[in-house]
Symmetry: C2
Subunit: 187 residues, 2 copies
């Protein structure tokens, strides 16, 4: 039931918005009582935090799996992280929407915890790039913190435009972005 409440709320928060969705809407959609809701979550805000944590923890877990695979070159790891993000935004569209749009409705303390995890995700990419410099895979004359923001901008922005039913697949977008970022556009 806990997981069902999360799934249904992602749907409702994503479609109508967090503020516009009441606990009554959630329990109605699940055909359960408010008592059931309060058995699992103290409040709508606590539920929103559970959604945020589920989303970012899952991304961090998958990212660490990619990073800790010793057998792959850094370039490939970067490629897999970029693909993971674009694929995730495609597959988990409503979760991503709730994550990007409703964060400001978290409590201050919860928001700080989520931001810390987001920062960790970003720093993991930066460290990957810096390790790749050490291995001679990446150029060493660019500050990798800014480069990381650039890469995250490319991937995260896809949330606003990427169409899973469009001409180009998530894998193709990742390939194009990687060529662009690794080899550059110069003719």
């Amino acid at each position: 039931m806990k997981e069902k409440i999360i799934q249904e709320s992602i749907q409702l928060f994503g479609e109508k918005g967090f503020k516009e969705t009441s606990i009554q809407d959630i329990v109605d959609a699940l055909s359960v009582t408010k008592g059931t809701f309060y058995y699992y979550y103290k409040s709508k805000t606590e539920l929103l935090m559970a959604i945020h944590l589920k989303y970012i923890d899952e991304l961090l877990r998958k990212q660490e799996e990619i990073i800790h695979d010793g057998s792959k070159p850094y370039k490939q790891k970067l490629h897999e992280i970029v693909y993971m993000l674009i694929h995730d935004i495609e597959k988990e569209g409503l979760s991503a929407k709730v994550f990007f749009r409703e964060m400001r409705n978290l409590t201050e303390e919860d928001m700080a915890e989520v931001i810390k995890k987001r920062d960790q995700f970003r720093l993991n990419i930066q460290q990957l790039l810096e390790a790749g410099i050490g291995a001679g895979e990446f150029r060493s004359d660019l500050p990798m913190d800014i480069v990381t923001f650039g890469i995250l901008g490319m991937t995260n922005w896809s949330y606003f435009w990427f169409d899973p039913n469009g001409r180009v697949s998530d894998a193709e977008v990742s390939d194009i972005f990687l060529k662009m970022v690794l080899q550059g556009l110069k003719g």
Copy 2:
């Protein structure tokens, strides 16, 4: 007064949010009457549209100025557009915030008009890149529509992290992004 109402509302909408700001809040901040407000705008929604148009029209105007300067190579024009966007997000932070965050509060018709202008801005970049391929400045094997989304992602995402008082200036961020996009990260 029309311009003053716009400036004050950008401040209030940016800080408190569009829905959370009343017309009363706006006229109070300007020490004028509601009659004055309604002399210039029929509604808060009409005012929001005026803010959106001002923001996107100004960006389009500056972009076209850059594009139509025949004396510069395409690479430099791309550089100037990237700088313009990051600089603008720095200088017009609250306008950018209102533009990105409150668009869903426009009427359907107004939203369609703003989206058309946003699309025009994006297509102008794509055409610039395609013209640059023709001139041998850019590689020809990548679909420039997707590349354009990548570049806009890098610049627009800076709204979420760029700190005008930070270590790196808007001009430096643009330089790093351009090196990354033109030459690539490969070591």
